[in-house]
């Protein structure tokens, strides 16, 4: 009898229609835990490195952590992985909501999809019954319509649906998958992967129940975490604003991307802040499965409504593009959620275009006459629509910023802020050095969630001294010790990904650490997840992810930051004068990892 884990792995080949159910192997899980670890390891073992990401041979994997769907707070995530169509390297994306827990109730820890269906289909998973169903009538529908239509078809509004919108169908390289209408698997183009397989959606109805091994101990541990969350000094703010609090917070330290990272301070921050959003448009809190922070929000405006937005979306469509109109950003949020487009990547393509126009490198004529001035709402809206439907110049934009800048050349590559093909998130690394290092080394490209070294923002100097012997780690502007911090938080971030938990709890609020996780995992699954085993599993997965990326062509020349962040100091505010000496940081990080100067892991065992 397996505890915590749901017990089965589902393999579906859309080409042949073959559906196989395997048993989850506890010994294997001890080495990968679950979630992202499980997906990455499968890819390492089974994926032909040379496949075109859009070919039927590419794998599409969904995995859920061992404790997801149980009493444990904030463990609602699901990870979707595959070779990314956007970056060509390891791709994965996680989202919360209610889909993951439902998949566990249906009996599955992982779903592995290969092949391409000959016509649009959706996958229906109900415990023992798994069907590939026709989705021709859903093709062309947006995510909200698709979700509603499937629920109606099945006569049950409690069915959980992960679906793509028109962007995924049209193979926009940064298309998303969404569950619960607004929970986005946003990054690395997993929606495009769905589209390439003619897979419109996955619908899940779970009829089972989940057991844990040591019920009393487990309940006690979960209660402890609940209490720590409630007593956390940031609880009230997180509950009221969620991640949108970062607009003000980042502006206060001078790193809020404004006009495409040309400035770190935004003069109209009060117009677009999380506080203003809460005051003017929020109607209530929303939440993922079994979370007691309830950090998400439901908003209603004259033109739009929906759940969200999170900070990255809000910033991407306000200050990053020079837009002062919060209501417009909310409208775009709804649009992106319906169409299934990643806000960061789509926003970066536009930010790049706007900066190229500003600098006179390109002109209106290059963009089908679109007037891409900072904050031009009409142009943003029009261009988004062109991207989703791959019309006109939108077709080039739909390939992502890296490819777009390569196409135009003329020095515009310098302003394409992607790392390894993945567009950078909203947080100027010049004022948060450990984050800078994270972007550079993250195994899915320019992203912070691979390590989320939030500790550098805390100014808890004594704690830094005690834990690592380096006081500067608690100083965001310092360089010293940041590789040490990232090396540690990278493992922690992977741990939360393997347990498919929320990074807010694990990292930003610092409520999860390997020892506590080991207790939870042991009480939950009944397997002996000692702290050493947990750590071994994490190190193993990080190494395998690096190796798979090396096979995909990653080398130290891509573990970098863009020119601006290394050579052009911020001109004003509390991060004034700072750049990121990234080369030196990456070198130190390799060393700590036991990788050689080419960034290749050296086998010790």
């Amino acid at each position: 009898m397996l505890y915590g884990y749901s017990g089965h792995i589902l393999r579906v080949d859309l080409e042949s229609g073959r559906i196989v159910r395997e048993k989850t192997d506890p010994q294997y899980m001890l080495k990968v835990i679950g979630g992202r670890g499980l997906n990455s390891m499968r890819m390492y073992e089974e994926l032909d490195r040379h496949v075109d990401p859009l070919s039927p041979e590419n794998m599409l994997l969904l995995a859920v952590g061992p404790l997801t769907g149980t009493l444990l707070s904030s463990s609602a995530y699901t990870t979707i992985s595959g070779k990314s169509p956007l970056t060509g390297i390891l791709g994965d994306s996680a989202a919360g909501g209610y889909f993951g827990p439902e998949l566990k109730l249906a009996g599955y820890d992982q779903v592995i999809i290969t092949g391409r269906a000959d016509k649009p289909c959706y996958l229906l998973i109900t415990n023992d019954n798994v069907e590939i169903r026709n989705a021709s009538h859903l093709w062309g529908k947006d995510i909200w319509q698709t979700t509603a239509a499937i629920r109606k078809e099945l006569g049950d509004i409690a069915v959980q649906v992960a679906a793509i919108g028109p962007a995924g169908e049209n193979l926009v390289k940064f298309a998303t998958v969404a569950c619960n209408n607004s929970r986005m698997f946003g990054r690395t183009g997993m929606g495009c992967l769905f589209g390439s397989k003619n897979l419109k959606a996955i619908a899940v109805r779970g009829k089972g129940r989940l057991r844990v091994a040591d019920t009393l101990k487990y309940a006690k541990l979960c209660n402890q975490l609940d209490q720590r969350i409630l007593e956390h000094p940031e609880y009230d703010k997180r509950n009221a604003l969620g991640s949108t609090q970062l607009i003000t917070a980042l502006n206060n330290i001078g790193i809020l991307p404004t006009n495409h990272f040309q400035k770190g301070i935004c003069d109209y921050v009060d117009k677009i802040s999380g506080e203003t959003l809460a005051k003017k448009y929020k109607v209530k809190n929303k939440s993922c499965f079994n979370c007691n922070i309830h950090c998400s929000r439901y908003f209603i405006t004259k033109e739009a409504e929906g759940e969200g937005p999170e900070f990255e979306t809000l910033c991407s469509y306000t200050s990053r593009l020079g837009n002062k109109d919060l209501k417009f950003a909310l409208k775009i949020t709804s649009y992106l959620n319906r169409m299934g487009v990643d806000s960061l990547s789509s926003g970066e393509t536009m930010g790049w275009a706007m900066e190229c126009i500003q600098r006179g490198l390109l002109s209106k004529e290059d963009f089908d006459g679109l007037d891409l001035r900072w904050g031009n709402k009409k142009a943003i809206e029009k261009l988004l629509d062109m991207i989703v439907h791959r019309r006109g110049i939108g077709d080039a934009f739909a390939e992502g910023t890296r490819s777009l800048a390569q196409r135009f050349g003329k020095g515009t590559e310098k302003y394409a802020f992607h790392i390894k093909g993945l567009d950078m998130i909203c947080g100027d690394p010049r004022g948060i050095k450990a984050f800078g290092l994270t972007y550079a080394i993250a195994s899915r490209g320019g992203d912070h969630l691979r390590a989320e070294p939030f500790f550098e923002l805390t100014q808890r100097f004594d704690e830094a001294e005690r834990r690592w012997g380096i006081r500067e780690i608690a100083d965001r502007l310092a360089v010293k010790g940041k590789a040490v911090l990232v090396e540690y938080t990278e493992r922690l971030a992977l741990l939360t990904d393997c347990m498919t938990m929320c990074k807010n709890i694990g990292l930003s609020m610092a409520l999860m650490h390997p020892e506590f996780a080991s207790q939870l995992l042991t009480a939950g699954t009944g397997l002996r997840f000692t702290p050493e085993r947990v750590n071994d599993a994490l190190n193993n997965v990080i190494e395998k992810e690096r190796l798979i990326n090396i096979d995909f062509g990653i080398d130290p020349s891509q573990d970098i930051l863009l020119h601006r962040f290394v050579h052009e100091p911020l001109k004003e505010g509390p991060s004034k004068g700072h750049v990121v000496p990234i080369q030196q940081m990456v070198k130190e990080y390799y060393k700590l990892k036991g990788w050689d100067e080419r960034g290749i892991p050296q086998r010790k065992r």
């Binding site: 149980t70 009493l71 006569g155 509004i157 989940l210 499965f289 759940e307």
Partner: protein
């Protein structure tokens, strides 16, 4: 009885999770005695639980397995119950549902409801003295022949209508 304030509910289903866990040691939506209806298109989350209604429809159990307890809660005798599903059919709002042949309905946890403890937003609260006050007559005809899930949806939709109107008028002026 357990009262619900949908304006505060985030839909986190902690009430379901804790209900199921503390009654059965396992977690699964279908074995929870309180069920959150999530109407995502309009942002409504609404926990549906036994209203301890005036009519007490479920007590017309053919096996006489159902009685009303001192707290106003429904008590089902596991020895008399034959899992016929009549109570599920009789309840107009889907607050009783059979799962693996056992009818699940709120028992108020003996006067200390776990769902109330689990809710950190104050969306669910317990009023010990309030029972037998709410009439579900208007839902009886409306939800005839529906599945418990559909009944809960109708109940949630109707009960949250004023809230939805309030939101729209406040935010769309």
């Amino acid at each position: 009885m357990i009262r619900v304030d949908p304006s505060k509910c985030s839909g986190c289903v902690r009430c379901e999770v804790n209900c199921s866990f503390f009654h059965t040691g396992m977690v699964g939506r279908r074995s929870a005695r309180i069920r959150v209806v999530k109407i995502e298109e309009i942002g409504i989350d609404f926990p549906v639980v036994c209203q301890q209604c005036v009519e007490r429809y479920c007590t017309k159990c053919p096996e006489h397995a159902i009685e009303v307890g001192p707290l106003g809660q429904i008590i089902i005798s596991p020895t008399l119950c034959v899992s016929c599903g009549t109570c599920e059919t009789l309840c107009p709002i889907g607050a009783i549902e059979l799962y693996e042949d056992i009818p699940y309905v709120c028992d108020l946890c003996g006067g200390d409801p776990r769902c109330v403890k689990a809710c950190t937003l104050g969306a669910i609260y317990y009023e010990p003295d309030a029972h037998g006050q709410i009439s579900l007559r208007s839902f009886k005809a409306k939800t005839k022949k529906m599945s418990p899930g559909q009944k809960r949806l109708i109940f949630a939709l109707e009960s949250s209508r004023p809230l939805r109107e309030k939101w729209v008028s406040a935010r769309r002026k």
